[in-house]
């Protein structure tokens, strides 16, 4: 009987401890709630100003100068000394002035046309301050009613493939360049004997050239307003 009473007393003690932990837990949650509420319930003061910011755009577009059909044409049977002129308009159509206008040219395949800096194709660029007046055909002619500016001396495609040529240091917003793109197969001596071309011949090769004009944004500015 005494033992039963003792056992009953130990049970009450255990029950009391559980209540103690429960109360402690509830107290902890309460403290956290009060802490959080304290953080957000502090006094605040706000001053608001608005500022509209837009980022600039840089856009370079390319179009043919009529009646020239521009790029995308096929130039067949170029013999040494032959030249082909294409006329295009290059426009800086974004809202940012540009710097470092360059031209890179790459060709498909790996033929002497694009890999040989002496025998292969070469590109030269002339600019005109107004649109070129073009007479198509062979022989063709073109006149510049404004000022003609050599922008790129004759440069092998083999060079332009790895090192783009510089055309202009700056290009203003909305500025356009009227370009004469001159493609030349340089004069060279090659003898065909009894219908057999020599080794490393320039004859009968073909490539598709891709002209890539590239510009960069003007120098970053720090303005005060």
């Amino acid at each position: 009987m005494r033992r039963a009473t003792q056992t009953n007393g130990e049970g009450k003690e255990t029950h009391r401890r559980r209540w103690t932990y429960l109360i402690a837990g509830v107290f902890g949650v309460g403290v956290l709630s009060l802490t959080g509420a304290g953080v957000y319930a502090g006094l605040t003061a706000t001053a608001t100003g608005t500022q509209t910011v837009t980022s600039g755009t840089l856009s370079l577009t390319l179009s043919p100068t009529s009646p020239s059909l521009g790029f995308g044409q096929t130039i067949s049977n170029m013999a040494p000394g032959d030249q082909n002129n294409t006329y295009v308009k290059l426009t800086n159509g974004g809202t940012l002035a540009a710097t470092g206008l360059t031209l890179g040219v790459t060709g498909t395949g790996s033929t002497l046309l694009t890999t040989d800096a002496v025998k292969g194709l070469a590109v030269a660029i002339n600019g005109c301050s107004v649109a070129w007046t073009v007479v198509l055909g062979t022989p063709g002619s073109a006149t510049c009613g404004g000022t003609t500016t050599p922008l790129l001396a004759s440069t092998p495609v083999a060079t332009l493939t790895t090192t783009p040529g510089s055309l202009a240091s700056t290009m203003a917003v909305s500025a356009s360049l009227f370009l004469q793109v001159n493609l030349t197969l340089p004069n060279q001596s090659e003898n065909t004997l009894n219908g057999v071309a020599p080794g490393s011949t320039i004859q009968g090769l073909s490539t598709t050239l891709t002209y890539s004009f590239n510009e960069a944004q003007r120098t970053a500015q720090i303005t005060t307003s």
Binding site: A24, L58, G70, T138, E190, N194, S212, Q217
Partner: protein, 210 residues
């Protein structure tokens, strides 16, 4: 008995506050790093379809051949003449074929002679063009290219050529200089060369606006 708050409750509260603080401060750092990392802008025109150009190189050449149609195989032409007892053999003809895809302005011919058997005299070979196909005679206009003697042929250029790609020019080879002969044979080897620069034997260079 007065309930006590266990130490674990305090520790839990402290951790919760630390987590709150750690979440708040990195947001402010993020704004700063974004502004500092602004990149430059570049624009490119070209490289897309419609901004490419297909460029192809020409071919040029001439092939001496006896074939009257089709594209002859490349190579020199060998003509064999059998001499008669009392003199030179009769002429033979061949064609110079424009095997390239550009017009020709000139062609260089090189002829070498070799002989066997008994031949009295010094054989020569003469090439003559004709504006129409040779028969026994030239019913059109004939032009002599050159006369060669011996084995070391001197290259000789002529502007009478098959101008357009795929065309043929009729040429006669005649043998001279043979006096008496017994079982003699003269072998004539005809070679043609077309150069692009020195001398320029293809059409003149052109400038095209397109």
């Amino acid at each position: 008995m007065k309930p006590r708050v266990p130490a674990i409750a305090y520790a839990f509260c402290a951790c919760f506050l630390l987590v709150l603080g750690a979440l708040a401060f990195p947001v402010m750092d993020g704004f700063a790093s974004t502004a500092a990392g602004a990149a430059g802008i570049t624009a490119t025109a070209g490289g897309a379809i419609g901004q490419t150009t297909l460029a192809a190189g020409a071919t040029w050449g001439s092939i001496p051949t006896t074939l009257t149609t089709g594209t002859p195989p490349a190579g020199a032409l060998v003509q064999t003449f059998t001499t008669s007892l009392l003199g030179s053999p009769g002429p033979q003809t061949f064609f110079s074929y424009n095997s390239g895809n550009v017009d020709l302005a000139a062609t260089t011919y090189t002829v070498t002679l070799a002989q066997s058997g008994l031949i009295v005299g010094t054989p020569t070979a003469t090439l003559k063009t004709c504006t129409v196909t040779w028969t026994a005679t030239c019913s059109g206009t004939s032009t002599t290219i050159n006369t060669w003697t011996g084995g070391a042929g001197t290259p000789t250029a002529t502007t009478v050529v098959p101008v357009t790609p795929g065309s043929r020019l009729s040429i006669q080879t005649s043998i001279g200089g043979v006096g008496l002969s017994l079982g003699g044979t003269i072998t004539v080897t005809i070679s043609t060369g077309v150069n692009s620069l020195t001398p320029r034997q293809i059409r003149a260079a052109v400038t095209t606006n397109a």
